[in-house]
Amino acid sequence: MSTETLEAPVKEKEGLLSKRRKKFVTDPLNDDNPITIQVLGICSALAVTTQMKPTLVMALSVIFVMIFSNLAISLLRNAIPTRVRIIVQLAIVATLVTLVNEVLKAYAFDMYKELSVFIGLIITNCIVMGRLEAFALGNKPYDSVLDGLGSGLGYSWIILLVAFFREIWGSGKVFGYPVFEAIGIENFATNGLMVSPVGAFIVLGFIIWIQRSKTGYVEH
């Protein structure tokens, strides 16, 4: 993972969405995608993507945790003792994850039952800690928020895409809506492989293949 040090000469007044800042959000979407390029956060990409609805909730949770942990760490970056910084990051991420879990339990109990374990595992999602270490510790709060948003979105659109293919092939539905029955195909043969984690590996493999053949990215 590259360590970004963005101590470039900061101009007097930089637009809220200057070119440099836009790149924080757009880079992780494609060129520096956390899942397909950095290959982080794979475990949750495999585990939660059998259906689109829980995947969307998972994606929103990760975006929330990333933005606010980046913000908190960035605000504290000059106060955090270097020797215990990892445990401080962990404590903040764990707190945010617990918040998400509690809110889901109160207001979306069905989702909570389905996702509970995986929400808890956001703590171990390498994308979150990776961004804190590589970015938030050395950058200003607003930039860090944008970076968190970018990485969160980069993670989200990939898992949503994986979930789309897995749900439509595995159960013939999109967001729980039976699309094939709606267009008159009554006995669409679903593929059980897509429901199992192996299906996620295959779909993810194809996405990475297509993306890398377009961007020309090679592992060094």
Binding site: T50, P81, R83, V88, T95, T98, L99, V103, F109, K113
Partner: protein, 255 residues
């Protein structure tokens, strides 16, 4: 930058207090809403044991579920001897919906509480019984709806904590649960034989009969868990049926 040990300790303490305070605050604020959500979920699982109700549940709001539940379910708590009890050992009022089946599962069987949820709509009486057991990875539980003759299964709803998705986790699916409908738990001589999910899937009808249901491919150990759970709990509730339901039936027939 190298900070002193004192700084690190003070920093950690302050951080711990702030984060801890935040979390306990949130837990206090959300606690009542969460308890309501859990209660509603329990009611949905209980009603879900009746197939006709389960179909309706999908389109019902929280208020409608609660209203329907109060309309069709009357609950009581029993002990292993099948006696209806109203207060616990400390004299506190017992509410069937609040009995934690998992906590009771950890007690010896003769100390456990066994809630019974009686369902009655248009002359169809069923007794919905909570069950609890162990699957392959973690706990499994369910609600079995049995007709008043303590023989025919009207429906079952099952849930789990950690079974493998696509394999053991299929016990939550309608397709699996509907296999139990109409099966019988008593043998020819009135003895309890329970219902067994057999190994393998797509077994021919000739291998099934009234006491067996088709299995789940690749999830034999979960199926064994379900079998053990049903056998154990049907046995626990047998006394209740012998004492109350059949006695009441005999009484009404004599009149």
């Amino acid at each position: 930058m190298q900070q002193s040990n004192t700084y690190i300790i003070v920093f950690s303490l302050i951080l711990t207090v702030i984060l801890g305070g935040l979390l306990s605050g949130v837990s206090q604020v959300l606690g009542p809403t969460q308890r309501k959500a859990v209660e509603l979920d329990t009611k949905k699982q209980i009603l879900g044991a009746i197939p006709a109700e389960k179909e309706m549940l999908a389109e019902m709001t929280a208020e409608e579920v609660t209203a329907r539940y109060e309309q069709v379910i009357s609950s009581s708590v029993t002990n292993i001897k099948g006696e209806v009890i109203t207060t616990d050992a400390e004299g506190k009022q017992l509410i069937a919906e609040d009995v934690n089946i998992e906590k009771n599962y950890k007690l010896p069987a003769d100390e456990r509480l066994f809630p019974v949820f009686k369902y009655s709509v248009d002359g169809n009486d069923a007794f919905i019984l909570p069950t609890f057991g162990a699957g392959l990875w973690d706990a499994i539980w369910g609600y079995v709806a049995i007709s008043a003759d303590f023989n025919t299964i009207q429906g079952i709803s099952m849930a789990h904590r950690g079974e493998t998705p696509g394999l053991g986790a299929r016990i939550t699916e309608n397709e699996i649960q509907s296999r139990y409908i109409g099966k019988e738990i008593l043998g020819d001589n009135g003895e309890l034989v329970s219902i067994t999910m057999i190994k393998g899937e797509k077994n021919p009808e000739s291998k099934l009969g009234p006491h067996k249901v088709d299995g789940m491919a690749g999830a034999t150990i979960t199926a064994v868990g379900v079998n053990n759970m049903l056998a154990a709990y049907l046995d626990y509730y047998k006394n209740y049926f012998d004492n109350n339901v059949k006695a009441a039936d005999a009484l009404s027939m004599n009149q």
